[in-house]
Amino acid sequence: MAGPRIPERIRSLQPYKPGRPIEEVERELGIHGSIKVASNENPLGPSPRALEALLRALPGIHRYPDGGAVVLAEKLAARLGVEPARIVFGNGSNEILELSCRLFAGPGDEVLFSSDAFLVYPLVSIAAGATPVKAPPRGFEHDLEAIAARLTPRTRVVFLANPNNPTGTIFRRREWERFLALVPEDVCVVLDEAYCEYVEDPEYPCGIDFLDRHPGLVVARTFSKIYGLAGLRIGYGVGSAAVMDGLARLRQPFNVSLLAQVAAAAALDDDAHMEASRQRVRASRRRWSEACAELGLDFVPSHANFVLVEVGSGKTVTEALLQLGVIVRPMDAYGFTEHVRITFGTEAEDERAIAALKVVVSEMHG
């Protein structure tokens, strides 16, 4: 008896290797008390208001959620200054990336992105049956000119991450405007702003300001990073009402849980928590620059909540740090074999990670 036939494009997919939860890593290694500075999570956790709202909603958990997330959409829309019809929520912003790709690209179509970009882009392209096309970066930055040069009549979707993961770099307004002018109107541009709330550069272009310039623009954002709700799975896309309608048809009718909806809505109200999270990242950024300088390590100046550090062999250093109870992310999957990506933690976590890195680096050189 033959099992079901799986299309070749799925069989050959290499699934995304996400960072594993700390519980799993510790269980495997038989250690505990380690710190995980690997998945760009917020060390301060979510707003207490989000937790309160979530626990208050528990008695209603036997009911389906509002499929349209109307209350949350109205609240977020008011904050962003857009119509609620221009927002679609996803089970994480990952789902927005995936749905946008499936909406516009299929077999024979091309999906374009920088070769140093978030690994989910090639995966969702291949899963949609489309052909991923990579443009070379400029150093550690997206090269928007190189990306534009690779637009063809078959390009249906362009993914851009600003800031990019894993480099933490941004592109600025002038470059972005020039790029947008080169993209045909019928091409979907997914602008992934998972880390936008951490950016303090005055020349950073906020995608939402450009929605009317490009009808195929989808700005993807998340509650996983600065809002500290990665475990809950909620993100959103903002775009034209027509494109959002397309995404809404493709998503599951109840793709965002009741608890995610109420927690996200409450999180939006906590400006103090957002400011504290920004402060923390600002302090970590400073501390890590000092530490890298002290250790003689090159790093990529980051606009996000993590930093890419050049350590020699990313793999060796990751393993050595793990032995010291510090979990970081090796970057060979992105082609950065000499780097590790370290997420900014609490002050104590930063210090522990820096101390461990010091030990590892001196052992390597000693």
Binding site: Q14, I61, G67, F104, R233
Partner: protein
């Protein structure tokens, strides 16, 4: 400027999104329209969620490992045979994304769960719908030789079930994937999980939304053969199930008896409601699920009865679909809720 709709693929532009049952805001209506459980989930589940809520800043386990292990133990399969989804809806979608290419056939009998159509359209499938009464698998479905066939048992909106030997015979001869949708399986007498081992092309989906009282959480399970489940993992979003859902799912399975006791209450009410409706002159099928399909042809059709109930503060489901306009579907609520409905219908 190009209109956004011109950007969207023709496939999506032609699709009708799924129409879910109304989720009214405010708590005055008696809600019998989306087959939720009227009873709360286990206190162990509430506790597990409250505990896990302190780790919400951390990404969940990508494959929900703890729940795979727990479900494997409870349902008697290997953890590798379990796929965890953001509701069983997501699992149905994943199966189509994984197995069906543009133009390939997806088949099922109608009437049934209307999301199948939406999901099939969204992957550009050729849809084959075969009219059937839901107590057997029509031979036309076997003849369709579809890449994926949905068998919804107990079926929605009728509450009828297909006997296991018919499911087995169909799966034995089918070349494609046979998805046995058991969203209502805990309310039925048998489950295809007992014959899964014999059928490498079978997937059984289950939901925590109905029997486990967790519709708001979004959690479902698919059971299949390990290599097939392994392939489906590739089309899964990297973190598709929340931390809270994983923790709650484990706790819900730990307190299996809680679910069973709620199911027993719902079944008892179902028997009582069925008898009262029949006594009042309505045609009512024997239901194997947590709802009843009520033939309203003699009292003006489903819409009339829906409106009458709605005016009395009771929300049931009316389907404006060929073959279903004569009836309405009422979820089984508490005895008190059902008495309100019966009071209106008997009056």
């Amino acid at each position: 400027m190009a209109r956004g709709s011109a950007l969207v693929s023709a496939r999506v532009a032609a699709m009708h999104g799924y129409t879910p049952g109304e989720q009214p805001v405010g708590g005055r209506l008696i809600k019998l329209n989306t087959n939720e459980n009227p009873y709360p989930c286990s206190p162990l589940v509430v506790q597990a969620i409250a505990d896990e809520a302190h780790r919400l800043q951390l990404y969940p386990s990508p494959n929900a490992d703890a729940l795979r292990v727990k479900a494997g133990a409870v349902y008697g399969v290997a953890p590798e045979q379990v796929l965890v989804g953001n509701g069983s809806d997501e699992l149905l979608a994943m199966i189509l994304r994984g197995c069906v290419l543009d133009g390939e056939a997806v088949a099922y009998s109608v009437p049934t769960y209307s999301l199948y159509r939406t999901l099939a359209d969204s992957v550009g499938a050729r849809v084959i719908e075969v009219a059937a009464d839901g107590t057997a698998i029509p031979s036309a479905l076997a003849a369709a030789r579809a890449r994926v066939t949905f068998v919804c048992t107990p079926n929605s909106p009728t509450g009828r079930a297909v006997p296991l030997d018919a499911v087995a015979a169909f799966a034995r001869d089918a070349e494609g994937v046979v998805v046995v949708d058991e969203a209502y399986g805990d309310f039925a007498a048998s489950s295809a999980l007992s014959i899964l081992a014999d059928h490498p092309n079978m997937v059984v989906t289950r939901s925590f939304s109905k029997s486990f009282s967790l519709a708001g959480l979004r959690l479902g399970l698919a059971f299949g053969h390990a290599d097939f489940i392994g392939e489906l993992l590739k089309v899964k979003d990297s973190y598709n199930v929340s931390r809270l859902a994983i923790a709650a799912g484990v706790a819900a399975l730990d307190d299996y008896a809680w679910m069973q006791s709620n199911v027993a209450r719902v079944r008892a009410t179902r028997v009582r409601v069925t008898a009262r409706l029949r006594a009042a002159g309505f045609g009512v099928e024997d239901s194997h699920a947590n709802f009843v399909w009520v033939d309203c042809a003699r009292v003006g059709g489903g819409r009339t009865v829906y409106d009458r109930l709605r005016a009395a503060g009771v929300l049931v489901r009316y389907f404006d679909t060929d073959g279903l306009r004569d009836g309405m579907r009422a979820s089984i609520g508490t005895d008190e809720q059902m008495d309100v409905m019966l009071g209106v219908l008997e009056g």
